[in-house]
């Protein structure tokens, strides 16, 4: 668990529109990498291209490659379904399956793998995943209740439990706290700190304090104007990006003098 990601000359298109251009990025295993930048700069698009989720939108495609520990995720014969089983994702808004109980939500991914599991092994997996997401104590007495009955922060942690239950190598988070209150945000940030012991984490965030708090490395994306492609301006250790970035644009953005 916890693999390295390497993007090489990555261009991402929606139809004929070039959304993100020329990304070269190395993400080290078992670290937290934050992607920051203004809205529309392509950081979410880039994140979604790492587990090939952006392909869900008709016409979306990439050129270049993304390698997971040396294996090209866009190589010939690579099944995007297999990629997504290795690289988990947590979305902006909590999205537990409303028709499933908390218990079933956690093992939803495991069920897909068609592994027949004994009841006690499943129970064990559910407990381990929920403990891993710091949610166990809050829900252990109501595992059979619907996941949509939880609070927003709890739902988001349930989604994290669901993502880690399939034991992925990488966890992608697309603004996981943007719909949450500060207390729930803190709970998720604490959780991210614990999860990086086992997983490589990439997180998109609009909150620069959050990027500074949780990440080891930070990548700054920017866009020159509407209709132009987003680009990775600079990537370095988080404290370097926030104290002495090499690019003027990065300094303007992190110091709030953007625009």
């Amino acid at each position: 668990m916890g693999k390295a990601i390497e993007a090489i000359d990555l261009d991402i298109y929606y139809g004929s529109f070039l959304a993100v251009q020329g990304v070269n990025m190395t993400i080290r295993p078992k670290t937290v990498t934050a992607l920051i930048g203004p809205s529309g700069c392509g950081k979410s698009t880039y994140l979604r291209s790492i587990n090939r989720m952006h392909e869900v939108i008709p016409g979306a495609r990439v050129e270049g490659s993304i390698e997971l520990d040396g294996t090209d995720l866009y190589g010939a014969g690579v099944d995007p379904v297999g990629v997504r089983r290795q690289i988990g994702m947590v979305f902006q808004r909590p999205n537990p399956f409303p028709t499933m109980s908390i218990y079933d939500n956690v093992i939803a991914g495991q069920r897909l793998n068609n592994k027949r599991m004994r009841k006690d092994a499943t129970d064990d997996l559910v407990e381990r995943s929920l403990r891993g997401a710091n949610l166990w104590n809050e829900v252990k007495d109501r595992l059979e209740k619907p996941g949509s009955g939880l609070s927003g922060g709890q739902q988001q942690r349930l989604c994290i439990a669901r993502a880690i239950a399939v034991q992925p190598d990488v966890l992608l988070m697309d603004e996981p706290c943007s719909a949450l209150d500060p207390i729930s945000t803190l709970a998720i940030e604490d959780l991210i700190n614990e999860l990086k012991m086992d997983y490589t984490i990439v997180i998109v965030t609009h909150n620069m304090q959050q990027a500074a708090r949780v990440s080891d490395y930070t990548g700054f994306f920017n866009i020159e104007g509407t209709g132009k492609p987003g680009k990775l301006v600079e990537m370095d250790e988080t404290k370097k990006i926030f104290s002495q970035p090499t690019q003027k644009a990065t300094e303007d953005y992190v110091s709030g003098r953007f625009g």
Binding site: N51, V56, N95, P98, G149
Partner: protein, 323 residues
């Protein structure tokens, strides 16, 4: 709270005390009134129909058994009709529901957009075809064409009571009626299912895909559970139409009044609606009351079916995603 404690009468020129009634705009009042009126009207109509059925059917329930057509009493008269009605509707539903769900899924999740849209319109168009046209198609095309298939069914699956035979030479059988009704109710079930499938939150579809679900697994995880109540509602609408269908059944089915599960022979029970249509012009006195009594039974069956559907939908409301 207030310090205004002055006793005694208010000064003579004081404005009238503010009314405790909330301010209501005339537009609001008109709209509320007309909406309430429409709601009451539908209840009055329903009550009127029920009262008519009860009053007109009553003589048939109290009449001596020998006076009822057939001579064996009201139960013996209506029972084969109830059986035929349910049998035809259930066959139609069993064929149409899975097919409609598949068509709806194809339109919403598999077809390219430029095919999906015209196909959707086409399905809606099918729903507008009058049932007499389906009936004519059933008797003129489907019935003769199905004789060969039914012979095959009898030869190879004859050990199943459904296909015991002997095969009807004209093909005017319960099976053909069921298939015709299925075609008739297919559009309505498809249209309702398609609407709900389209409303599946993108968020949940992406959640399933991000877990490594294939397209079919995503549909099983996110789309079908979300659309479940919609599928049931659509099926119930279709069932309602199949139960009440009159002309198509009256034209196609060759009737003997036998209560049998044998779907491919020429001896079939009629259905309530078709029986009323065929018998009513030549009925007088107690015969009319008997027909209306059968109509009352149909009314109750439809009511029961709808309540059952409502119950099924509500049972798992907590998990519906509506909260």
């Amino acid at each position: 709270m207030s310090t205004d404690t002055s006793p005694g009468p208010a000064p003579a020129k004081a404005p009238a005390p503010p009314s405790t009634r909330p301010v209501v705009q005339p537009g609001d009042r008109i709209f509320a009134g007309s909406a309430t009126g429409a709601g009451i009207l539908i209840l009055v109509v329903l009550a009127g129909v029920a009262a008519f059925l009860l009053i007109e059917a009553a003589p048939a329930f109290v009449a001596p058994a020998a006076d009822i057509p057939g001579g064996n009493g009201i139960v013996a008269y209506i029972w084969p009709l109830v059986f035929g009605t349910l049998l035809a509707a259930v066959i139609a539903l069993l064929i149409a529901t899975p097919l409609a769900v598949c068509v709806a899924l194809f339109i919403t999740h598999f077809a390219p957009r430029r095919i999906a849209q015209p196909l959707g319109y086409l399905i809606d168009l099918l729903a507008a075809v009058p049932s007499i046209v389906y009936g004519l198609w059933g008797v003129a095309v489907l019935a003769p064409a199905s004789v060969e298939l039914m012979t095959w069914l009898q030869d190879y699956l004859g050990w199943i009571p459904l296909f015991a035979g002997p095969v009807s030479a004209t093909g005017r059988t319960m099976l053909v009626v069921g298939v015709t009704l299925a075609v008739m109710i297919l559009p309505i079930i498809t249209a309702v299912s398609r609407e709900v499938f389209l409303q599946t939150p993108k968020l949940h579809e992406e959640a399933a895909l991000a877990l490594g679900a294939t397209r079919w697994e995503m549909i099983k995880m996110a789309v079908l559970p979300f659309g479940r109540s919609g599928i049931i509602s659509g099926a119930m609408l279709g069932l309602g139409r199949a139960l009440g269908e009159t002309m198509a059944v009256a034209i196609i089915l060759s009737v003997s009044g036998a209560v049998t599960f044998n779907l491919i022979s020429s001896g079939n029970p009629s259905t309530i609606a078709a029986n009323i249509a065929l018998q009513f012009p030549e009925s007088t006195g107690i015969e009319v009351n008997t027909l209306i009594a059968s109509g009352l039974v149909l009314f109750l069956i439809t009511l029961a079916v709808n309540s059952l559907a409502r119950f099924i939908i509500n049972r798992r409301r907590e998990f519906s995603g509506a909260n």
